[in-house]
Every structure is written in structure tokens, then in C-alpha cells.
Amino acid sequence: MRKMLTIISNVLRGSASRNGARVVVSARTYADFTPQATFDIKKCDLHKLEDGPPLQAMLTREEGLQYYRTMQTMRRMELKADQLYKQKIIRGFCHLYDGQEACAVGIEAGINLSDHLITAYRAHGYTLTRGGTVREIMAELTGRRGGIAKGKGGSMHMYTKHFYGGNGIVGAQVPLGAGVALACKYLGKNELCVCLYGDGAANQGQIFETYNMASLWKLPCIFICENNKYGMGTSVERAAASTDYYKRGDFIPGLRVDGMDVLCVREATKFAAEHCRSGKGPILMELQTYRYHGHSMSDPGISYRTREEIQEVRSKSDPISMLKDRMLSNNMASVEELKEIDVEVRKEIEDAAQFATTDPEPPLDDLCNHIFYNDPPLEVRGTNPWTKLKSVS
């Protein structure tokens, strides 16, 4: 008996020490995290559609960390822009995107970089998801030569490959986006165009002209209305006879999506992309979202809405918090890991801001360049008849 007990205790002690070794020697490995989980997402309201996006979304750990990092980068970048604007280092118009991060990140997760995208002036987030770096975005805001448009465009005119800005005229980007979609169809590369506009722009006539042609010609265009409840200082109830923006396409099928949930946006975008790529023509998505800042930096954003409203959205529906909670409660990441990402993001933003404030302004030689493409140099009249400036392509 005693011999058997000794044997048993030896075995147990052995395995215990093995377990103990594993716990002590290695830190928590990836094997300790849930590699993926499925989440329930809100059902989308449908217009002229039989089925909608799935009610569940699968999220892998890698995806979750990537969405978190990108959204956090976007958030911190916009807050840094706020700071720089108040220090008068950024001038002119500055329309910030904080609060709406799930839209940009979710959309990009549902399409490919080889697809196309165009939006209006609240464009910093999309410039990032479409391949711009924080450095070149911030340097463009501060008007330096290292900016994504060499300092010549500013906040509203940033471009990358297959990203057509950044457009200052409300609503004008919608026909442009349909034109990009026409090119996609014409060139036969199975690409599509995501064409964004706000709740304010949604009442523009040219958008309805575009719905008509996109539908007639079955253009592979996803129209997306980012409804953040206010067109500048005018609430949706005061601007639109019908605030069901997802139905405003009439003959175009539509869905209303929770724009604060990155997974909901992603699934809806995937659904919409599938619709376009299968040759069914355009589709419309309304993303219900919210901006924490005012319309632009010159709008405090509290004359037409209450601080309580802003606070409520921040505490209950913040897109980054929502993702963070999901990941933590499903053991997909640790608090330390996310904090580490925060630290890295903060550093990236600081470095970018440092660059953006120290990079020199564009040289005066560049003043008249980029008037025409692929043309011999031409002479441009300066402010007086004796000043003749040079312009190269």
C-alpha cells in the first residue's frame, strides 16, 4: 500500500512540477487566448432586399487586434489634429472623424485595397485605411512638403491609390464615385467603388441623378450614407422629409447598419460587395454613427446638441470600447496587450506630429507646378505682369 501511494505521489508530484514549470517559465502564450469567436450583431433593416447580412460575425484574434490598432490610431490621430488646430499649427478647415472609426475600419475590412473608395471632407480616417501613413496625413494638415499632397491640398484633399479623396463640395463626390464604378465595369476587373456621403449631403439633387444612372447602367457602386445625425448644425429631422436614408435610393436596395459596431459594418459591407460583384448593380447602406467633435474645428458642437447626448454615446456605444470589451470578455486579448498597443499608437502619433511640425513648408518653386499632367513646362503669370513663374507637370 505504502509503495503504491509512493508511486502515485511521485507521479502526481512529477506532473505538478511539470505544470508548475510551464506556468513559471513561459509567459502567457497565444495558445492561452481564444483564437476566434463568434459574436451576435444587430439585424440590419432592409429595403427591397429579401435577405440581409448574417446575424453573427466571426472575429479572429488577429483581426480584432488589427481593427483595434487601426481604430485607436485613427482616434489618437484626430485628437492630435484637434490639439494642433487649437495651437494654430493646422489652419482652415479640419473635419474630425472621432466616433466614426468603426465605419472606415469596417468598410475596409469588407472590401479589398484593389477596390475603390471616395468620400467627402471628413476624410482623414479613410486616407489611413486606404494606405496613407499617419505621418503624411498629419504633415498634409500642417501644410508641409512631406504631406500626402505635398501640402497643396490640405485636410479635404488627400489622395492615395484607388482613393479619390477628400472632396470639398458637398455631394459632388457621389457622381464621381459612380464614374469610378463605371470605369470598374468598363475595364472588367471585378472591382467596385464605395461612394460615401453624409446625412446632410443625402438631400443633394446630384445624388439622386447618380442613383438613377447607377441603377440604369448597373454600376458596381456601394453608396454609403454615414448618418451621424447632424449636417453641420442641422439635425436630420430638420433637414430631411424622410430620415430613412437607406430607403432614399428608392429602386436601389438598401440596408440600415449599426455604424458603431465594426463587425456589423464589416458584414454589411461584405454583403453589399457580393451584391455588386454579382452584377446586380448598386446598393445603398446607411451607417448609423456619431461624431464626438463638432462639424469642424470651428464648431464647438454643443449649440445644437447637449453634452449629455455626446457623453451618453461615448459611454454606451463607443466603437473602440465595444471591440475592446468583446475581445477581453472572450479572452481574445489581455488588458496589457491592448495597453501595449495604445502605447505604440501614442508613440506613432507623437512621431508623426513631430514630423508634421518640423518638416519644412513646400518650396515656393512648387507654387505653380501640377497645373497640367504630361505637358511641357509653361509660364504662369504671377501677381504682377513682371513676375513670370514656371510650372512643370
Binding site: 501640402g151 472632396n167 470639398g168 464621381l176 459612380a178 469610378v180 470605369a183 467603388c193 447618380t210
Partner: protein, 359 residues
Amino acid sequence: MASLRCFLRSGKNAVSAVLRREFHRTPPAAVQVTVRDALNQAMDEELERDERVFLLGEEVAQYDGAYKVSRGLWKKYGDKRIIDTPITEMGFAGIAVGAAMAGLRPICEFMTFNFSMQAIDQVINSAAKTYYMSAGLQPVPIVFRGPNGASAGVAAQHSQCFAAWYSHCPGLKVVSPWNAEDAKGLLKAAIRDDNPVVFLENELMYGVPFEISEEAQSKDFVIPIGKAKIERQGKHITLVSHSRMVGLCLDAAAVLAKEGIECEVINMRTIRPLDAEAIETSVMKTNHLITVEGGWPQFGVGAEILARLMEGPAFNYLDAPAVRVTGVDIPMPYAKILEDNSIPQIKDIIFSVKKTLNI
């Protein structure tokens, strides 16, 4: 094949040449082509040459074009490349610009440039300024074309000349052909240009035939944008004009020649960029300048030419103030007698020449 064609065309001459036992001489193979057909040929050739070129606008496809400029193109190229649009200028102009941004080469027709006002934001803010705003990342190779200026009896809302409005804006090229050769060569150049070009045609010129040279019949015949042409050499006074008014200047010059006044007639061909050098060189020879245009005087094409002349080297060569002959500063009336007196006539040009020359 070409020589056979030449032979057949010159059949009579060839026979008589043979009978005279001389060498067979081929007369120059000049052909009569209307401005309309020249534009049609230009588009046809460019559509064939480059797959990315396409035409969109109201009635351009199945109707063969409101003014029949695009006749036969839809039949030849089909729905993909010749697109009928609904009556939504702002929308389809924007779509055309977007297509150009994404790699195609659209020709966007406005039924007349009066309707382009509905879409002018897309022309200026989306097309003209984008290459600059993007610091060279995003070119916009597009042509906006259509009839511009006064027609016959179409009244105020359908008769405005937009040369001055579009030429005001950097980032655009603005072209205004007069004859068939201009129309063909400049439209081909505009389509091949990688930048937004506003191409101002003239409805009254569509049906006018001109002889076009052998060179102009070639599929690679292109007239450079930004260079004016001296249509008639002269030494007493320079007449600068564009579009239909060039013809009036030449007619006035013919009348004046009988009185011994030799006018040098310059066909601008391009309004922006303006070929100021050609005008200055001419003025330095003739010492007198008159500009002739169909549009309104205030802030017009002539106003710009005169300002440049003042600021440039040719000013010192002027023996009299340079003046403008323009449309009357009123909305276009309907009644024929009123309409006729709202735009420059040959007698107005002759009168202004004599006043300038103090005759």
C-alpha cells in the same frame, strides 16, 4: 490604293495629260468636309485608336447626336462606348470626371454649353483643380464638348458664350475651333491630352464645308493646343478672333483689301492657354489691333487680350488704342432683326478697322 483613288479623282486631268504626252500630274487631294463630319471623324478615329475613349451625353447614341455630330458612332461602337444619358448634367458630368480619374478617357457632350452651367461645379472643382490639389497624384483626362455661343433664334437662355467663363480657370484648357481642319485636329488633340479640355464648338458652323488638306486627312493629324494660326497675312492691322467670327474677319478683310487695307487675321484656335506671342508678333508688325468675338464685352476674351497687350512688349508698337468688337451687352433677343444686331456683323468689323486706322 491611294494612287488609284487619286487617279480616278483626277481622271479627266490624267487623260488630257496623256493626250498631251506630259507627265501625269495629280492635283492636290483636298477634300470638302463639313465641320460636323470633321468632328465625327475625329471622334471615330480616337475611339478606334484607344479603347479607353468613350462618349457620353444626351442623345449621342441612338439619336445620332442632337446635332448629328456623333452620327454612326453608336452603330459602330455599341452601348459600352457610346452612352445615352438621362437629362441630368450635374450627374453625368460628375460620372464622366470620376471615370477619367479611374483610368478611362471620356468625351462628355453637353447638348449646348448653356446646360454646362448645371454641371459647372464638376468641370471646375472636380476636373480642373484636382491635379493641382493632389500635387500630381490624380490626373483627369477628359474632354467636355458641345456647341457654344449664339445660334439662330434660340433666344437668351440658349445663346450664351462660355469662352470667358471657362478660360478664367487654371487647370483647364479651352479650345475653340473655326473650320473643319481646326475641328478635327483640335478635337483629336483634346482627346489625346491628359488634362481636362473644354472644347467649344459652334452650331452655325456644323454644316459649313471646308477644304481640308491631305495632311489633315491622316489619322494622326493633330493640331497642337495653345498655338494660334495666321489665316491671312496683312500689314496694316491685326484682327484676332476665334470660332465663327474668324470667318467674318476674313470676309471683312476681303472687303477692306479692295480699299487697299491689308488685315492680318489670326485664328486663336485655343483660348486657354492664350498664344499671346503670336498676337504680339503680329501687332509689332501691323501696329494696330482689333479683337472680334461673339461673347459679351465685360471680362471677355477680348478684354484679356487687350490687358495682356498692355502688359507686354507689343504695347510700344501700338499706333492706336487696341479695341474689341463683341456681342452687344444684353441677353440674346429672339426676333431676327434684334438677334442680327446683337452680334458682330461684317460691317461692324469694317467700321472698327477704319476707326482704328483713322480712315
